[in-house]
């Protein structure tokens, strides 16, 4: 199947997960918020968060078991940049109250102005960062 078709189907599944989360539990399916809450929320609110995150890891493993074509290549980034990237993604999503799923998919679908501004901002920052990485400092 063409990668764009798989992308559309995969995106639709992410949407389905977001709809389930709202329809059943009344929660935004934002990965950064749910993950950080798994560490910081009151004890009664931790288990569902852990299960959601665990589910993502399980769901991510399943296609690779069916076909090797779903196993991506290893990230091509030095360990130092991976650490800097991990810290900034964590800090940024914490300060900015969301990531690609919470702001990008759920927030824009609710027509939230904060999420629209956040999504445009992190997209722009991503474009600039990759431009510097690949075309200015050599890739």
């Amino acid at each position: 199947m063409h990668p764009f078709v798989l992308a559309l189907i995969g995106g639709g599944l992410v949407g389905l997960a977001a709809v389930m989360m709202m329809g059943l539990k009344g929660r935004i399916a934002g990965v950064s918020g749910i993950l950080s809450g798994a560490f910081t929320d009151s004890s009664g609110e931790r288990l569902w968060r852990i299960l959601f995150v665990l589910g993502i890891a399980i769901g991510g493993a399943i296609p690779a078991l069916i076909s090797d074509s779903f196993v991506p290549p290893a990230p091509d980034t030095s360990t130092l940049l991976v650490i800097i990237g991990g810290l900034t993604v964590g800090l940024g999503t914490g300060l900015g109250s969301g990531c690609t799923s919470g702001h990008g998919i759920c927030g824009i679908s609710r027509l939230s102005p904060r999420s629209m501004v956040a999504t445009c901002t992190f997209m722009a920052a991503g474009f600039i960062c990759v431009f510097l990485l690949k075309h200015v400092f050599g890739g």
Partner: protein, 143 residues
């Protein structure tokens, strides 16, 4: 444990599994693909735009029907963010997040969905990302 609570936990797990399936099927666990999308000046890879489009279409329509109801099926109320102001933490956070996303090609969902491939980079990225998330609260006091 009350039955409704069990169903709620099951719903979270099921929703997470479907989310992870979507990440892996769509190719978003491939950091080359994500960086390819962000590389406007290079060989641009539009795949991520299709993932966003698919996700938004389903969520936009689904939310329209769901949020008309007084409450979700298994809980007492909807927990929808109510903040509306575009403040400094939102903008600074989004800039930092976007920069880190571009640097590695991972945002939180795909990084977690990619844990099972066992790559060292992923296994380093996820815990450092969690440390970053835990730092957000003390850092936000600066603003």
């Amino acid at each position: 444990m009350p039955l409704q609570k069990k169903y709620r936990l099951l719903a979270s797990l099921a929703s997470g599994i479907i989310f992870g399936l979507g990440m892996a099927i769509s190719g978003m666990t491939n950091t080359d693909r994500v960086q390819g999308f962000l590389d406007l000046a290079g060989a641009w890879d539009p795949t991520l735009a299709f993932v966003m489009a698919g996700g938004m279409m389903v969520t936009f329509i689904g939310y329209k029907f769901i949020l008309k109801n007084p409450a979700p099926l298994l809980a007492d109320m909807f927990h929808v963010p109510t903040k509306t102001d575009i403040d400094k933490p939102l903008l600074v956070g989004a800039i930092l997040f976007g920069a880190g996303w571009g640097l590695v090609g991972y945002c939180p969902g795909p990084a977690i969905a990619g844990i099972s491939y066992g790559y060292l980079a992923t296994l380093i990225f996820v815990p450092t990302m969690i440390i970053g998330m835990l730092l957000a609260k003390p850092v936000s006091k600066i603003f």
